[in-house]
Symmetry: C2
Subunit: 153 residues, 2 copies
């Protein structure tokens, strides 16, 4: 089922297995080196020359850049009314993110566990895969988030 | 033992229990809203007004901003010769990161598992806590990274 971004979702609107697909974001070398200069200034994230002879071979984005871009696309594609607030998560980067890739996020609700102490809340587990334009997985994220019921009255 | 940042560490230089302490980074509201505008544009990361009535109450940094700043401080404080390359990780944010906080990273090597297929490599597990100026933990990160032996010949 296609969800409009203008729809704001509460706990009652969510079910295990529900899926969300983001728009895509085209990454270029300038974005990669700008992020890396500020947050992850390692040679393989700054130039092809710096990446030569490393595990990456040529310029690759910081995994934290892939994660931050994923968050941007998640905010736009998983429209939780009270926002996306991660408590804890697991993250893996099976493949480097490169200039020229178009990133798109495919998310699915894995679990909904009602809070024992807060009757208006549940912890929702979302799995989000960040894929390139060929469908290759660049990042796997599994995150637990508090989600609230629709306010009453 | 205090390690100079100019020292470049190879696998032979690492041991379980080894610790690393970063410099501190003072965060302000401008940095928080700039990052959030680009990567996590949710109201509670953009202004005090937007955070009122949410779980955060007042302006709080995106967890991905805390993570990215942590990476910057890790690059400066854990001087692995071949770089810090995360394969997979676990991350938790027990407490919001706020304007005015000075972030500092306390890291410890938890495990070193030699690769079965690559004799010059091991997977090193590093735990890094991001703490504020009062020693309160803002982020817990446990990350697995490939680390290589000193090249020979």
């Amino acid at each position: 089922m296609l969800k409009l971004v203008t729809e704001r979702l509460y706990l009652e609107d969510l079910r295990v297995g529900q899926r969300f697909t983001s728009a895509s974001h085209l990454l270029d070398a300038g974005q990669i080196t700008k992020f890396a200069s500020e947050f992850d200034p390692q040679p393989f994230h700054l130039s092809d020359e710096g990446a030569a002879g490393t595990l990456f071979g040529s310029l690759a984005a910081s995994g934290w850049h892939t994660a931050a871009l994923t968050m941007r696309l998640l905010v736009e594609s998983v429209p939780l009314a009270d926002g996306l607030i991660g408590i804890e998560l697991e993250l893996a980067w099976p493949k480097p993110t490169r200039p020229g890739m178009a990133l798109q996020i495919f998310s699915e609700i894995l679990d909904i566990t009602p809070s024992r102490s807060k009757p208006d809340m549940a912890i929702v587990t979302l799995r989000s895969e960040t894929r390139d334009q060929d469908g290759e997985t660049l990042q796997r994220l599994t995150v637990k988030m508090p989600v609230f019921k629709r306010p009453t009255g």
